[in-house]
């Protein structure tokens, strides 16, 4: 098990009801974190529309997750 800090943004934060939580998780990749918290971020958005960052760096969904990492889950962006 790894201790993971998860941060939710915008729609994900509103749906989760929290902006951040720390969980002990059995995860290998960023994708695992997304999948395992799907009920909390309560979104039906295709993953291709979402983004992820690990420790404040934009990452691929296949990025490895280590104990102590912070994973940022981004719903579809809409700048401009």
């Amino acid at each position: 098990m790894k201790k993971i800090t998860i941060r939710y943004f915008a729609m994900f934060r509103e749906n989760a009801g929290v902006s951040e939580e720390v969980l002990d998780m059995d995860v290998a990749t960023a994708l695992d974190v997304f999948e395992q918290t799907r009920s909390r971020h309560g979104s039906s958005e295709p993953i291709g529309h979402c983004k992820v960052a690990v420790n404040d760096v934009m990452a691929d969904w296949s990025a490895s997750i280590s104990d102590g990492d912070t994973v940022l889950l981004f719903p579809p962006v809409a700048g401009g």
Partner: protein
Amino acid sequence: MFSIAETDIAPEELRQQMFDPGAGGFCVFEGWVRNVNEGKQVKRLEYEVYEPLAIAEGEKVMAEAQQRFPHLKVYCVHRSGLLEIGDCAVWVAVASAHRDEAFKACRYIIDEIKVRLPIWKKEHYVDGDSGWVNCERCASVAHQHSAGA
């Protein structure tokens, strides 16, 4: 080069900082809050920005623009917080020797900023409803990007 503003963007002040004696072409794009989106009457809107990554990714986009369409000066500022109809949400400016690079770099920056930066837009409608904007065009571009080589 890239910044996030919590209060009104002041285009004229920004413009004056773009002057360069070697610049012959100056292109600006401004995104304004409009009163309607996808058939719904918009009252105001709210940008949520995750600043550390928005700034890092914004700077990256601008460095890419400089590489693709070499120019002399560039600046981009994006709002966060609550905006009213007509407010300037984003200001992108490029000064270059000739107009072609100015137009292309400006367009490149706004196109990328819309789909890559961790910025979210919540619309508040006249009917009291509100909703996060799921930019369809952005999603489709993001998809093309991730599907690309």
